[in-house]
Assembly symmetry: D2
Homo-oligomer: 304 residues x 4
């Protein structure tokens, strides 16, 4: 259960008492506030607060560009223009604050996004709960044979059973010993800041995470991408869905230009031009390395 | 007049239509929203949006410290504790967005605070207005004779009149020529991105500026300080007054520990201990430099 | 003259006395150290210090990816791979410190790149020199008729002469009055922090600017781009040439993937696929806006 | 053994071949380069590269303050002045790059210092070594009874033995199972990015960490402090000793004003003034909370 009864009661109370404000309000985001969106087996994402909406982006852009933006007829066109030309500062004028519960190994990857504000639950001050991420069978994958940092096929049969059993029993044992070391029952009790070192990295932690929309998009581009590890991607996807409700125009532009877009090298553009003129270009005549060629093919491949 | 009729009408419209939200609301800040607070002769500060209030700081801290914060009985005590021990991340959970109109030479100093989001009016896209900062007579000061970066006594008589006349006539002439160069009346008209170089640095610009409360406090500590240049200090003071209404507990802690506090070197602490034991310590026996001694005296001086 | 005799003598002294170090050395950058590269009429760029070289990027990447990088056979391949996949942290392991002299209106644009360390000459402490940027006739351009933030044709004949004369006489007059207000000859003398407001934005300032290679590449991509204002682009180009000598492999990858590359939207990629299958796609059947179509055409256009 | 034979050979090679450079050289730092300074049972800190020295700080400050700095007679006085007045930008002009091997729970605390560049060994790409931090008996401490985030007395007798045995056997078992799950011997082999979740947080990781001197000082102030957890403090102390050799003047100023200094609230300063006038002030008459009074007493306490 990701939330305690106490936390659920607090959410109910907060959702029951809307207040008046003169600030920009995003109806799409209001409906998400405080509600925990479950992720993985014990994790969640819930929006705590936000600042701005699509019109706040437009408003900031018009301060910058003054009369220069008047010829762009509508908000959608202006937002697409800003996204296309990497004008990032108007997107920085929106901000979001999320409460996230996640396994430590996911948190370690997440924290590498430095332009954000974070308050993490401290295991120096407090005792962590007995909650561990155990993958669902369909996400228990073998090492990829072609990609050093990826996963391949799903583990089968006995091996899968063995791995799941190990993950569960190791986590349980480590937590038992964590408690045993902390206990002050008939002994001094190890300091919390030391005892925590015996916990495995699939234990859950939680934090408040606050960032602006530009940096959130950067996070989503990397972490909602198909190359991201599944366990962080599901968080990114939950946040992406929320963001689409919060700032629908900006999110649509982001999807078109970033998530669905691709960056081509000058070499790739040259090859494209040759192909458009009817030339049959092969990897050998392209001048690209094997990896570049494979990635280039993926961009222009027809899924049909 | 810092705001156009159009802008005033827009403010009225925004203030007339409160909406419902589930987010944290600061009544103290709501009353400031959109209203322009005049600063200097043509400048202003107005709050456009904010995120969080005193309780948001407390909430974030309790996420971090978990049960460890339960023994602190109330919000005020916890906020003072956080401020005293430089626990800055809970303060980062509040955010504010301001619309500011300010002279370019002030903007150049302000922008050095890097942890903020900025959208400035672009003189490449648009034409700047004919508005210049001309100091009031009581702020027209001579160079300090003891401080390389400060100002001393107020200029008197003919010299003051001469300076004011020069500032006004130079600004007017530069702006006339800016317009003449831009004009497309019977000529091609110089590019805006070039013409702007002829404008003096007391011309007004404007921007949206967004920052978190921790970084705002850092800005206020440096810029609302008595050593800051008067022309930026008045902006900092206007923002400080707004912040006191926005997050009254956090602001009170900031005032006590930062604005009114002082940092002593280990050398100064040693001297203090000797003084508290009754020793008569002089600059010579203190081991401090002349500058350090003067600053130390200012900290412990009795104003009475 | 961008450098004083005193500064030139200092450079000579520094260049005359190499010392021994165990650090990574880039021979290509050593030859640039301290030498001022002239930019515009009074500006310059000179490298003061640097950290790392191409091999430092590779070394950092191998720490991250461990055995996972062993299959990439050589440094060039690995650096290209890192650039292609936006693995930016290894590039952050190189750092450069530059001394730059530049007009204030260029500095105002430059400083918007926040991830850098800056020490600027302070006109509160010190008096600025009588040096102003006056464009060469071939860079005195009219406002673009199609681009709100661009310049069009070069000004001709009398208009050009008139503009140049105005820029020169206004700068001279403002500086004369700056000096007159500062003077303590028979008067108190206005504070420097106030007098500076009478200076136009084509006056030169100078600063030390230090950044890492990843952020430098970001700066170069935006400012060495053909859409950047000429007056900042020439600085970016001078720094780009230096960078090509400093980290030749990284710079070559940057050129191929960033400077010469292009980002396509999902819409543009769909159009490309249709074109590659032989379909004749027009702006109307593309689903793109006029602006997007024009930019897309520019990417795939055959210059021949 | 913190370093492999291969790594030691590489260090020897690098130290054997000094090269010539025109850059600023710090003899004090050159002697540390590449040499691993052991920390904890398997960790280390080693300097890989640096930029600048004490004179680089002075040089940057003189660019900023121009003639305004000439009255400060020497480098030491200027550096102390900069430190005392929180002029941080000249210190940002120095940079250091360290290679650090450290337990994951220490790394999790360390990474919260956001203004730094990091390349960490990736357990998605590669397999972690079998190396765990096991505290020496004298650092195996009980939970503090007065401080929620501190440790108290050293564990005694059987309890200490029990804890050490548990830490060792749990680490060994988890690592055995990590290997068993990864193994491709007769099974598919779990993906590395999943298997790593079974490792406890006292396993060692390593990274390259690069930061500027201003941010390094901030890190040292918090982490070399007596309130920091022992396991990160020993790293901070090792780096502090290195820094004292690298920039001796800046480090001495840092020690006097930051490490040995104290910040007093306005309330505390008022009490001090009363005490200096001979008044006997008690906690009750001070207006301070219990915590504030205790901390204030610690500042002015005479250790003798």
């Amino acid at each position: 259960m990701p939330l305690t009864q106490e936390q659920l009661a607090e959410i109910e109370a907060q959702r029951a008492s809307p207040r008046q404000t003169l600030r920009a309000v995003s109806e799409g985001m209001e409906k998400h506030l405080y509600t925990a969106q479950p992720v993985l087996d014990h994790g969640f994402v819930r929006a705590i607060d936000y600042m701005g909406d699509d019109s706040a982006i437009v408003q900031a852009a018009r301060v910058s560009y003054g009369a220069g933006t008047k010829h762009v007829q509508n908000d959608e066109g202006l937002i697409r223009y800003l996204m296309r030309h990497w004008h990032s500062t108007p997107f920085e004028m929106c901000e979001v604050k999320l409460h996230i519960k996640l396994p430590v190994f996911v948190a370690r990857q997440w924290i590498r996004h430095r332009t954000a504000n974070v308050n993490e639950y401290s295991a120096r001050y407090s005792i962590l709960d007995r909650e561990f991420y155990i993958p669902a069978p369909e996400h228990l994958a073998a090492q990829s044979t072609i990609n050093n940092q990826g996963r391949g096929e799903v583990l089968q049969g006995e091996e899968a059973a063995r791995v799941l059993a190990l993950l569960k029993s190791d986590a349980a044992q480590m937590y038992d010993n964590y408690e045993a070391m902390l206990s002050q029952d008939g002994q001094q009790g190890l300091a919390r800041e030391l005892a925590r070192m015996n916990l495995p990295m699939n234990i859950y932690t939680q934090w408040y995470w606050k960032t602006d929309l530009h940096n959130l998009f950067h996070f989503l581009r990397l972490r909602a991408d198909s190359h991201a590890q599944y366990e962080i991607r599901v968080y990114a996807e939950a946040i992406a869905a929320m963001t689409a409700d919060w700032v629908p125009l900006a999110y649509a532009a982001f999807e078109d230009y970033r998530m669905g877009g691709a960056t081509l090298s000058s070499k790739a553009i040259d090859v494209l031009k040759r192909m458009l003129k009817g030339e049959e270009v092969t990897r050998e005549t392209s001048g690209m390395s094997v990896g570049e060629w494979r990635e280039f093919q993926a961009v222009i491949a027809d899924p049909a």
